[in-house]
Symmetry: C2
Subunit: 695 residues, 2 copies
């Protein structure tokens, strides 16, 4: 698999036309548009910049232009009385919009646009307001700093998305995320052309929506941390202004303990229930055998169908362990009477009943993999956490599907790994064209065991921008180096939207350090990543809960270390005998800094409890710094390192590979390579390193 992907990447790089490759090099567009042609010259952006809207008129279009101008002013530092909307045909940017959009944004509405920029002005044309919105984001990404002021290069872009469903799911059940935090993430979504916010609203740990019909749902199931219906309407309007649909998810029949705190009669076992504080899959599940359950859901879903205008309604449906069902004689009796052979049959029955309710209230049902059973109508949509093969299976049976497997941003994978996750791959690649069309797109998923309002942005961004490109851009856009270069730029641009993925890092380090001088701590933190997949769960010394502070080093460090990646790249060049100007000097500077850092940090391990657990890692980093420098000395002298030294250093490396405090020291494999190279050994394949995720 690894080799197939790499080969594809290389072929792609070879066959890409020269101009296209150059465009990707020089522009900071993400997602990369379908077609880009660079021209000559550039359009200056100054306080006299103006916009005219021609063609179709609707308030949402005016709103989109206002948002665009606000963002352009922010990027360039212009006051609000500059950069006007005019009626003049000589406006700097003329927008031609051919038609309106639906009152409730629909799946598959046209999002294409054409943007032409010349020295004298720019023109953005699109069949719909949605296309205008996408094109305006492209324009914003094109604004550059030049010796003559701000400017957009002369360019011609024809663009449209590959998939119609490009989502971000945020779990607000496990940790409550306030509306303002969601709003800034909607801004981030709009910036990278994502169009579905999937709001995971109920969990064992919290029920987050005000229900007027069943006030005890949030009243007893949320610790007071929930959204009012007005707040929800406000967020939906905010999303709509940005061309984003809002799909609510109420997980059932499992993941539903929080419902039972106020309404224990819904559950399959005797109460009372409390809000769950731990993480995992728990026993409580709704009772699918009682008619009262469906009466309740009918009223509840009816209320929510009115609150959330989107056509789709997500019922979750995942991870029911069946223990409460097994323990309830009346449920066993019901199953026997209805000829159900196991709990899957019982859940399928539940899903059929719920699907009828959802459908009755005018919505299309959406659920996780588990809901897929031939007894449900073809209209439902499957969201797959299992992978493209599962999507292919659904598509063959006529079901539409979304990929989320490979896009779980809580697993702390690299942007590269998400980026190279292709919805139309594996069995899905062999589907007929019509079947392939049933693959609607995908969603990045932010599960929230370890996120708070403070660090959620850093778990979502910038990696989700790479997923956004996978879902928007042509399938053959997959140059990882280009992606990383542009991702760095996007990450900085997102700061202007108020996203805190960069700023919060420093604040959290300051808190840990107990001082504002975090330079030494940052040297360490910059080469750390949280452990991957579910290792944090598995290596916890005491069970994590929703009441535990998320203020540790593992909560602050970034999911992917840019320093680590760049260091590894440089080491690869060096051990292959190559070098670029200054490269060895930069590598040596980093190694020296690491070697000396432990001495500088030492007092802080004493003065900060939060930092103490990272002390052994800092010692390892210093040892690796010294080892790496010595290895480079051997390499430079062309003298093989003594075997005894090498084996001693490799022992240090082995020690440093072990996660500590649920953190990975990401520079270990590269230093190992240096040591091996200094001994004249071929570096062991980095793909076998436990530090790199298997692909």
């Amino acid at each position: 698999m690894v080799r197939t992907i790499l080969a594809a990447v290389m072929l792609c790089a070879i066959f890409m036309s020269r101009s296209e490759a150059q465009v990707q090099q020089s522009l900071n567009l993400m997602p990369m548009p379908a077609k880009v042609q660079l021209g000559n010259g550039r359009l200056l952006i100054d306080p006299s910049f103006s916009v005219a809207i021609t063609g179709h008129k609707e308030p949402r279009l005016d709103g989109a232009v206002d948002l665009f101008l606000g963002q352009l002013r922010r990027q360039t530092g212009m006051p609000p009385i500059d950069m006007k909307v005019t009626n003049s045909a000589s406006a700097t940017l003329v927008i031609q919009c051919d038609g309106g959009t639906k009152e409730v944004q629909q799946l598959g509405e046209d999002e294409s646009y054409r943007l032409e920029v010349a020295n004298s002005g720019a023109r953005l044309s699109a069949p719909t307001t949605l296309g205008v919105m996408r094109g305006l984001q492209t324009f914003l990404q094109l604004v550059q700093t030049t010796g003559d002021g701000f400017a957009v290069p002369a360019i011609s872009i024809d663009d449209n998305p590959r998939f119609p469903w490009r989502g971000l799911m945020i779990d607000v059940g496990r940790h409550f995320i306030p509306l303002d935090v969601l709003k800034r993430n909607l801004d981030g979504m709009a910036a990278v052309k994502l169009n579905v916010f999937h709001w995971h609203l109920s969990e064992n740990q919290g029920f987050r929506v005000e229900s007027k019909k069943f006030p005890k749902l949030s009243g007893m199931g949320s610790d007071g941390l929930f959204y009012t219906q007005n707040g929800i309407r406000d967020l939906i309007a905010y999303a709509r202004e940005r061309g984003i649909r809002v799909v609510p998810e109420f997980d059932m029949p499992g993941h539903s303990t929080a419902w039972f705190v106020g309404y224990p009669e819904l559950a399959s076992g005797p109460g009372p229930y409390e809000i769950e504080r731990k993480w995992g899959v728990f026993d409580p599940a709704m009772d699918p055998t009682r008619e009262e359950t469906y009466k309740f859901l009918d009223v509840f879903i009816g209320e929510m169908a009115g609150l959330f205008p989107d056509q789709f309604f997500h019922i979750g449906g995942d991870e029911v362990n069946g223990k409460q069902w097994d323990a309830n004689p009346k449920i066993k009796e019901f199953m026997h009477a209805h000829n159900m052979k196991d709990n899957n049959d019982l859940q399928a029955y539940f899903n059929q009943r719920v699907q009828k309710i959802v459908s009755k209230h005018g919505k299309i049902m959406l659920g996780w993999d588990e809901i897929l059973r031939p007894d449900l109508p073809n209209s439902i949509v499957i969201q797959s956490w299992r992978g493209p093969d599962s999507l292919a299976q659904a598509a063959k049976q006529g079901y539409r599907g979304l990929l989320s497997s490979g896009y779980y941003v809580d697993l702390m994978w690299s942007a590269e790994r998400h980026y190279l996750t292709e919805p139309v791959s594996g069995a899905a690649a062999n589907l007929s064209a019509e079947e392939q069309k049933r693959i609607l797109g995908g969603e990045a998923c932010m599960w929230a065991e370890y996120v708070s309002p403070e660090n959620i942005d850093s778990r979502i961004w910038p990696r989700t921008a790479a997923i956004a490109e996978r879902l928007w851009s042509p399938q053959d856009v997959r140059d990882v180096n280009s992606m990383y270069r542009r991702l760095g730029e996007v990450s900085q641009r997102l700061d202007w939207l108020g996203l805190t993925h960069n700023s919060s890092y420093v604040l959290m380090l300051r808190r840990i350090a107990g001082t504002d001088d975090v330079s030494s701590l940052k040297v360490l933190a910059d080469v750390l990543e949280p452990v991957k997949d579910y290792t944090r769960e598995e290596t916890a010394t005491e069970p994590a809960t929703s009441a535990k502070p998320l203020n540790r080093v593992v909560d602050a460090v970034r999911p992917e270390s840019a320093t680590g990646r760049q260091f590894a790249d440089s080491v690869n060049v060096l051990v292959a005998g190559g070098s670029r100007p200054g490269m060895e000097a930069r590598v040596r500077a980093l190694l020296s800094r690491w070697r000396d850092n432990q001495v500088e940090l030492q007092p802080m391990f004493e003065s900060s409890l939060l930092l103490k657990e990272a002390s052994p890692i800092s010692q390892n980093l210093s040892a690796l710094g010294a080892a790496g420098l010595a290895a480079l000395d051997y390499l430079d002298r062309g003298e093989p390192a003594p075997a005894a030294w090498v084996s001693q250093q490799l022992a240090v490396v082995e020690q440093a590979k072990k996660p500590q405090a649920q953190l990975l020291l990401v520079v270990v494999p590269a230093v190992e390579k240096l040591i091996q190279a200094s001994a004249g050994q071929t570096a062991s394949s980095s793909s076998s390193s436990p530090l790199l995720p298997a692909k």
Copy 2:
């Protein structure tokens, strides 16, 4: 004057008891409380932290505790389901509040509190909810990072403010400042115990309040940039929850062009009028001779008196140039008929009339120095931009007053200079005790010619915290070194409130650089300050206007360079022959970095128009770096520098002293000292340097 103040500081330092000095050294409190006694041990702050409220109950008190807990969680990274309010007498923090506060916060309400912290728990007692609010802020400032976790030291504090009126004025007329920006500044005010937000709401450049009686005021006078009445009520409630009064100012009869855009009949000269874009004092003024003017103001002030609940109402009253009055024959005639000898008499007549209207609507009139005339009743309050002598004069005549002279934060003075501005000084120091009581306090003033939502926080903070200490703490708290140490800490703490004085600096530099790597640009920007006083106005190559972007280097750099101050301190020690460990090495490292920086920055001067104007300064900095290093070499060798070299370098220094691009290179005087010392000369007194403000 300089010598008197310095002598006072030194005496103060000598006579301060040892323990008090130690307290000031080790604690990060600002403003410093009236009495502080450190104990032994500390109270740990963990997720189980709880608060009980005993005694008086009111919603505002509950709200204050909620805000406190939110802030404590933010500082320590605890989730919202931790740190509860309980009824238990064994709560970690027990609050005893003796009595309520007025529905509308009054001038002079008791703000005192007593805070006792021991290993086992803490107790905060206060006569009023206001005192509780102040004490809770002190508690937050006491939270430290320790090897055992977060903790507050065992301590006993008795505290109350020196002055009852401690304000911040923000001018939203010249540049509109949105409500969210004001709110975060209210959070900052509360953190340093300021209690009056003076809202300067109308100017020649904009009328910022919705009037339902006169909709054209904001409708035509604001470019659409104004506050709705609901927004204003919301802000007033927000301020009240933080123990802050909101005093509105509507400047009249001058500074009022924006009124005349919609209502030209109010003016003394023929219209039509347009919103003013330039800065300065302009001719248009209200016509004090027409009865219609007072009818208008009666209705308008009546409406505003209902909207703004505070007891005080500010009518401005400053800077009427009288030209429109001189040019209007009917006004001349009126003056003649009423025996008025000059425009001052006419304005005094206007003020008398307006005072009666203000009083009729239940408010006390407040105005700038110019309104002081014996024909106004003693109830009015004078806000002095002239200085303590003017305050003393008013106090002798029975008027109450506020000091703002010396607290204009738009003038880009050092925190030290603001800090040492004492309301009870000069003639005011000789007032009787009763007269002195008429000095109510003071206000930091943020005039807004050169501030935007992006950089306003950096013009207000952290320097305003030093002013807050002057107005709260005992008069003899004036150790400048202690102030700067604590100010640095306060500045970092304010980041947790969402203030952007630190974060915006980096964003603005990134915009200027056009790249996220701003390390070299920061080396330069860190030693730059905007020109002081009104020099920016005076040295502008083209007139500044409200439509000009505030995105230049001068808009980004901090009003006071910490690097510059610390460098100057180190150089003072070095040239006096003293040294502390590592000091010379640090000075040399800085000088080398400056010397080499120009080469690194060079490409950016070509690629960024915004940066280009700073190119000569960067060259100067590099020259100074080289000169400083050479001077240190001479000093270290104990060999006098050659006269020719010295005079050559001093020429470089003279060149570098000149402001460029409205920026000052603040390290010039210290490098000059090094050069002079290397030549064996006594350093010329730094107080004579044009770079340091005269005191």
